[in-house]
Symmetry: C2
């Protein structure tokens, strides 16, 4: 031990990986580091892996399938033990890489374990909660349909509206929140005076809406109520604070890590679809 | 080429690393993924590395020196080509690892290249700008002194106050922003009615202050002006939007990557200290 210390010896895990064809490193695909929900999820996954002595190789895909494919190749050539793909936008490269993989939100294949929130239920409940406060003119601001979770929230919202015989009002953002998404032309084009409430597809996009309404002196929740989705820390920082549906990074991070390690260890009885219930978090932006 | 494709061949970079003792992967230490500034910096570093065909191994140290040492070992055993250490809280483990390293903010050694913003100048200018609007009762909310950049902002603020014959008022947050740092007991303990202005050590902490003042119906900037530091995206999301000093993730990320690659390539003429000027970004929270 003394000579190991003296020689400043580092076990060469690369050499081990080559011979054993395995490593204690896991790759994580994150679509958008600027979205507080995804950086909370990354932190949770990392903490859970660290406890089990796995290091994390974090790849920021920026929702670009090309970058995702590049990183899958990088992870494969580094012989990672497994991949956690959050919101993957491709399937074949994962399947071709033949590395144990689990996904969050978008599904890779029917055999690839997937964890997500019951987003349909969240969207349905968002409409109903607003309806029950007396709101009738309710807008849903949604994101791109390629994000399955976002599309499911929209479908839940639309079905709840139809059940109440209300024609759903839906406007699409072209992408998820980005640092440079500060053009408020979409928000400027909306006739807010004709609305009682808005359900926004995630908290960070809802933060833009709150900022916009504040700057127009529209009172929240008196004139317009707002509901977000995620319960990321941003919602508690806003004024008024944001009512939202929680998907817990702790619960999801733990689920993804445990499922992946079961796969890596060759367990055969693995649930291929896990759905967590969204939890209603009432705050100041609703009545 | 056809048979390579058919066999689903992946070049084994691990094998290459072992023989060549190098790899095309760089490790990045990030102290706090929840701080928007640090995730913008991580994205910028990643984009710059990707252009040069280096993959990124992102390590979230959470400002814990123990985790930092664990990750240095992991990076060493994975034979990364270099390390970018942002706000490192230890020195010896980096020097012992003998891997080309550059740091952002805290310095590792006098020979280890370091990039940072001229934080002293930023703190000095923050006081002066507030003083020039007529503010005299100016508070500085600062963070822990182990963060050199934060301590330098405080020293600049204090020196500017003394030059104007004003006794500087300074209160310390015990740590940088964390998702769970939502106890506002510190903010509740402050007598805001006795203040004209507050300079906060970073934008994400300033977001808490703005939320707190809004909830107490204190008008910004009429009753109290606020200045942050970083120019992360959060400042544009707030109402009122946050006046701040910019340190550019684009400029810093590029500087860190270019300096590291010069080190990796064995260049000898490397500047060991690069300082960027902070840039004043006036918005709605100041007069």
């Amino acid at each position: 031990m003394a000579s190991i210390k003296e020689l400043n010896y580092t076990p060469n895990v690369l050499a081990k990986s080559i011979f054993k064809r395995e490593s204690s490193t896991v790759g994580l695909m994150i679509p958008n580091l600027s979205n507080p929900f995804f950086n909370q999820l990354a932190s949770s996954i990392e903490a859970n892996l660290l406890k089990r002595d796995y290091a994390l190789f974090l790849c920021n895909t920026n929702d670009e399938p090309e970058k995702e494919r590049y990183y899958i190749e990088q992870l494969a050539s580094h012989r990672v033990a497994g991949i956690i793909a959050s919101r993957p936008l491709c399937s074949k490269p994962y399947l071709d890489a033949k590395i144990p993989t689990v996904s969050f939100e978008n599904r890779i294949s029917e055999h690839t374990p997937s964890i997500s929130t019951d987003n349909y239920r969240g969207g349905f409940e968002a409409f109903d909660r607003l309806y029950e406060t007396g709101a009738r003119r309710i807008l849903h601001l949604t994101g791109p349909d390629i994000f399955e979770a976002v599309a499911e929230r929209r479908m839940g919202f639309e079905d709840a509206a139809k059940r109440r015989h209300i024609v759903p009002q839906v406007i699409h953002f072209e992408q998820d929140f980005r640092e440079d998404m500060l053009s408020v032309s979409l928000l400027n084009s909306i006739d807010w005076t004709g609305l009682d409430a808005v359900f926004v597809f995630n908290d960070i996009a809802a933060a833009f809406v709150i900022r916009h309404l504040n700057s127009m002196k529209i009172r929240i929740p008196d004139d317009i109520q707002i509901i977000g989705f995620d319960n990321s820390y941003i919602g508690r920082l806003l004024f008024p604070s944001l009512s939202t549906f929680e998907q817990s990074p702790k619960e999801i991070g733990l689920g993804l890590v445990e499922t992946l390690l079961a796969l890596i260890q060759g367990e055969t009885e693995i649930q291929t679809e896990i759905r967590f219930k969204p939890k209603w978090i009432p705050r100041e932006s609703t009545k």
